[in-house]
Symmetry: C2
Subunit: 391 residues, 2 copies
């Protein structure tokens, strides 16, 4: 009856989950302790300290939600929004669209501004929207996993605060892979996922709230609609009271702590540089065989490489062949890009020169098997050349 494979080792080059280092997997498998054990309280304390480092924040309310990145998104929205509160969401992909959906479900008066998928917002677009209609919260996705676009945050933040709103930023794909400066950019609420550039297995969502955001939570007139995501209580579990709220995911927390230690040991700047370098090498290789990015030029994310499926190539067949012949997972397009895009993740432990070379070699074979015309070996040559230039 039971047929699950138990000994698979993939090369994870979709935009999450990313490959997990052996030392993190080892931490994951340590014996479970209780959720109120003083030893576990120490683990939560250490996770907070390392998350503060990673988010570049001194926010005391820095912790993990016991769920995926989407639980982090929902936690931020339901804690900040009361029924009827105006919220502006900047939609340019699946995850910003999801944020608008989450806000509508919790009774926000949602306004949406949109740009074409793959593009980013100009600060003046947000300014003009806020002048038409003020908002309590402005939501924006820093790194749109569905389109590969990186949204500059700093100038938007200035405008949002000038208009008296709070800034909510989705950093699911970006955190620990590029600069996410929560305090420097004055982000009020920010969430991420454990399984992207942090390279922990999926299941935890780091979240941080500024003092201004906490004040909003503390001065609500209505109860937060979700008990499970109620930060006013969860913060008391993470605080010195250790008040029971729910049973925290113990072993996942061991793994996250170890993964964050890896981040700290490498150093944020080194980690960003590594992500950027491998992105450039991959890009040189793809460009050499005529594969184009679908993202607005200049705003391509280092960790999510979104490219157009070449004309005449069967999207699903290539991804299936990569998986079956090479154990490489990449992702197809989501939403507007379904069937039209490949998304190649270079996240955390997966962002290596070896993976880039392996992927390009494998992709060339898959394309050639479908009769595509290109100069064989060109991607590898260009990638190697770029890598050598950068060394």
């Amino acid at each position: 009856m039971i047929k699950s494979p138990t000994n698979l080792k993939r090369v994870l080059m979709a935009p999450g989950p990313s490959d997990v280092e052996p030392r993190v997997l080892e931490a994951l498998s340590r014996p479970t302790v209780g959720h109120l054990d003083p030893a576990f309280m120490q683990i939560l304390h250490d996770i907070r300290e390392l998350l503060q480092y990673t988010f570049q924040t001194r926010n005391e309310l820095t912790l993990t939600m016991s769920g995926s990145g989407s639980a982090g998104m929902e936690a931020c929205v339901v804690n900040l929004i009361e029924p009827g509160d105006p919220m502006l969401v900047c939609v340019n992909g699946v995850f910003s669209r999801r944020m608008a959906d989450v806000a509508q479900r919790c009774g926000a008066d949602v306004s949406i501004i949109e740009v074409e998928w793959g593009k980013v917002f100009l600060p003046e677009q947000i300014e003009s929207a806020l002048e038409k209609k003020p908002a309590k919260v402005v939501g924006v996705v820093h790194a749109e996993t569905s389109t590969g676009a990186g949204q500059p945050i700093e100038e938007i933040s200035r405008i949002v605060h000038e208009h008296g709103a709070l800034l909510l930023v989705d950093a699911v794909a970006s955190l620990a892979g590029m600069n996410v400066d929560v305090d420097g950019w004055q982000i009020d609420a920010c969430y991420s996922g454990s399984q992207k550039c942090i390279s922990c297995p999926p299941g935890l969502a780091p979240v941080t709230f500024s003092d201004a955001a906490i004040e909003v939570v503390e001065n609500r007139k209505t109860k937060i609609q979700s008990f499970y995501l109620d930060l006013s209580v969860i913060r008391e579990y993470w605080g010195t009271q250790h008040r029971y709220h729910h049973t925290a995911p113990i072993n996942m927390s061991y793994a996250l702590l170890e993964a964050l230690r890896v981040v700290k040991e490498e150093g944020l700047e080194n980690r960003w540089a590594r992500h950027l370098a491998n992105h450039k090498i991959l890009r040189a290789g793809l460009t050499a065989i005529g594969i184009d990015y679908i993202t607005q030029p200049g705003y391509e994310l280092p960790m999510v490489n979104a490219v157009a499926v070449p004309a005449g190539i069967d999207d699903a067949a290539v991804r299936s062949q990569l998986l079956s012949e090479f154990n490489i997972e990449i992702a197809g397009g989501l939403g507007d890009f379904k069937g039209k895009a490949w998304r190649i993740g270079l996240m955390g432990f997966s962002s290596t020169l070896s993976n880039v070379m392996l992927f390009l070699s494998a992709l060339e074979k898959c394309l050639a098997d479908q009769g595509a015309k290109f100069e064989r070996g060109a991607s590898i040559a260009a990638a190697a050349h770029t890598a050598s230039q950068m060394a």
Copy 2:
């Protein structure tokens, strides 16, 4: 800076999390694969099959929510309830009180009936409440972790359905440790947690919905307030469409599958019998040194032994000594029982004769250190006698 202990091995005798078998921890640490990998789809399929076995149901909508048991509770409530829907909640402890809170937060018109903590409901109490005011959903906790009381479900189910309502049952503590017969008892929605009698680490909440419950979800007039817990979409991820919803907790799913295999290999009936036997042995030992259960006689749960802290004994000091001298974790009282009760868990892999004997020996020492008067060794003698009689 980082001071987390990394090599602790506790004996987990609180009412969850329970000790995790080495083969489950080993499964947890296998290399992560993607959430849309065909190999992972097979794992979800196998988890569903084994959850159907464990819940004793043929319900197709049988899956896990990516969160703790409280996420399972909230998922059941928010999927079944629309704003203004009448819901009756039977409150006799922390978790039933929590269910009422969750229902209120999602806009239900909540009615509550209460009995004293530690007691269970008589079917006629529910009948009388439903005759006064009909409900769409009746919520009841099968095994109240906060009081150690086991609520008989079968007769209540008959009454609930005669009154045209759906029956929602919390089986967080009971599933896989005593009989939970979802189809036989006609339960419409049931949830549990991975970390109790299933003995997987915390982080997943098994949930099952009957056809009648699915019909309610499918015929809602309003959107489910939570995106993260929206079963109408999550079931399409678990179904043949494999539609992306959120990134499932991959490694936790490996562990749950392995833990459910252990349940199947032991067999449900054998597992229930083991839980009951170790409960009787513990009980004989505690009784012999004058420690009394606080639960209504005849309704004591085998997996949660809730007893009164003896007069003159310092509750917290005993628990702290058990942890520091013996690495044994038990729990104190919650809510109304705070400071007045100990809750001794005998769940899943923690429910062993060895643990019972170790705990009784350790407890005798802690009590003696506080100057308690009792016949030394009496608990061990009584427990051994009972164990031999049952063998």
